[in-house]
Amino acid sequence: MTSVSPSRGRLAWPFDRRLSWPWTITWTYLGLVLLLPLAGLLIRAAGVGPRGFWEAATSPVALSSYAVSFGLAAAASLLNGVFGLLIAWALIRSRFPGQRLLDALIDLPFALPTAVAGLALSYVYSPEGWLGAPILKATGLKVSFTSLGVAVAMLFISLPFVVRMVEPVLRSLEREQEEASWCLGANSTQTFLRVVLPQLMPAILAGVAQGFSRAVGEYGSVVMISSNMPFRDLITPTLIVQYLEEYDIAAATVVGAVMLLFSLISLVVINALQVWGQRYQGRAS
């Protein structure tokens, strides 16, 4: 009748029988700092009622802000998926002067405060800025204070994710596989598409998903390069701030709860992609 093998035993609970210091600190801290605020948001959101919740969550302003936030974040993170792979390839597979500087620069969006990034980007892409002026002259398009500017800020803050996810996988790829592919008569395009890319795909997708999630939630850099006009370039986090400034706590709570739901979903998706990637790597090696 022993269905559970004795070597595995039953899994313990996430605390010790005599509550040890590490567990006490962990649960107290998580409770006060994370669970209590989360509970507060959920209680307030539940207090709005299903009808009011649906109305606030799907109001025209909110819907247009989702379109701006999710649409531009998707565009930015996908573009960074392509260029992230390219940059990772350059860092791992080639040697060129300035490589170390390039490697260090990739981390700058993680390290630079978002307000500084927003300030710098809105200057560089303004009609008088280093890049804004030539772009305006050549195409007639304004970047800063339009949705294009929002996309540029999202591009900046989501750039490192794909590079840093792909690098270790690319480094661990066995060159023999590519050599075998060449020996079997595949050209370099075929080798890349059929042998290399499939192995990198989980890492690329995980990086794109992380970048997307970060870009959707980003506030500091976007708020400074956007004109924050409803129905034009207003992102969802800024909409929450505007609701709070108008003392419309209920609407802020509802839209905040929608953002929280999105964060939870993206966390699950990113975890699943990483598990998939590990399984893939395990099988490959």
Binding site: L11, A12, P14, S20, W21, T26, Y29, L30, V33, L34, L36, G40, L41, I43, I87, W89, A90, L91, S94, F96, L102, A104, L105, D107, A111, P113, T114, A115, V116, A117, L119, A120, S122, Y123, V124, L159, W182, G185, N187, S188, S213, V216, G217, Y219, G220, V223, T236, P237, I240, L244, I249, T253, G256, M259, L260, S263, L264, S266, L267, N271
Partner: protein, 293 residues
């Protein structure tokens, strides 16, 4: 159709012809992209901060509001970082190297602040601690505590946004290492506390330092969550990142870029420290492997 050796040879010949061209194009494109997206804005901060000369830059740094914002940022960081370091180390020693129900869930919970928008973090604090309609308003009233629009709220917002870094850096390292050393220390009669200080902590010191650098850098630059809870009053509840935005909105771009340069300088220092610690970790790993061989 299996390729003949000849055709394979011809194909690899084609690859070789394309090789150098592609080999140069990929780094060139990568540098161009990073140059436009990252390097150009970074340089703009430096150039714009000194646009009217070093004199004006130094003059701006003496503004009372900037100095008060800098002070508040340093205070919030100085409180948030030790708290988060303690939590991170406690959580890592509790969680790592153990199997228990819901471990993946607990790890995801710790990761949650990375995927929540900072604005939502600020909103959650407003809903709890608003003196007029917060859920904890009665408690605040009876104790006289003030959280929003003052230092505790700013510290709390900073803590929430930055607490995962430490645990995330230390847990993987502890998972890699076994219990052997800790068990040996216990057998020799060491208490839990002694084991932690003399065995566990030294073995993760570089990862902990790495986590500390990331936590500090992020705490100094936090914007979204703090802007929601601080009230953003010049000279009182304005942190340095909030000062940057406010000065920019007031068309005082020299002051904005001056303050931004301080923050960018801190970011660059944190990056350099990070690279240095990464090298140390690599060297230590190499050393251990050689020793094992």
């Amino acid at each position: 159709m299996p390729p003949t050796p000849q055709s394979a040879g011809r194909r690899s010949g084609v690859t070789r012809d394309h090789g150098p061209w592609l080999a140069a194009l990929i780094p060139a494109l990568a540098c161009l992209y990073v140059g436009v997206v990252i390097l150009m804005p970074a340089l703009a901060v430096v150039v714009q901060a000194f646009a009217k000369g070093i004199g004006v830059f130094l003059e701006n740094l003496r503004s009372a509001e900037l100095l008060s914002a800098l002070r508040l940022t340093l205070i919030a960081t100085a409180i948030a970082v030790p708290f988060n370091a303690t939590f991170g180390l406690a959580a890592a020693t509790a969680i790592a190297r153990r199997r228990f129900r819901g471990k993946a869930l607990l790890l995801s919970l710790i990761d949650l602040p990375f995927s929540i928008s900072p604005v939502v973090v600020g909103l959650m604090l407003v809903l709890l601690y608003s003196p007029s309609n917060g859920l904890l308003a009665p408690l605040l009233e009876s104790t006289g505590w003030k959280v929003l629009f003052s230092v505790p709220g700013i510290v709390l917002a900073t803590i929430i946004v930055t607490f995962p870094f430490m645990a995330r850096e230390v847990i993987p390292l502890l998972e890699e290492e076994g219990w052997d050393q800790e068990e040996a220390a216990r057998t020799l009669g060491a208490s839990d506390w002694q084991v932690f200080w003399k065995v566990t902590l030294p073995s993760v010191r570089w990862a902990a330092l790495y986590g500390l650098i990331l936590t500090t850098a992020r705490a100094l630059g936090e914007f979204g969550a703090v802007s929601v809870v601080s009230g953003n009053i010049r000279g009182q509840t304005q942190t340095l990142p909030l000062f940057v935005e406010d000065a920019y909105k007031q068309y005082n771009s020299e002051q904005a870029f001056g303050a931004a340069l301080i923050l960018a300088g801190v970011a660059v220092v944190s990056l350099l420290l990070k690279i240095a610690v990464e090298r140390l970790i690599d060297r230590n790993r190499g050393g251990v492997k050689e020793g094992d061989d």
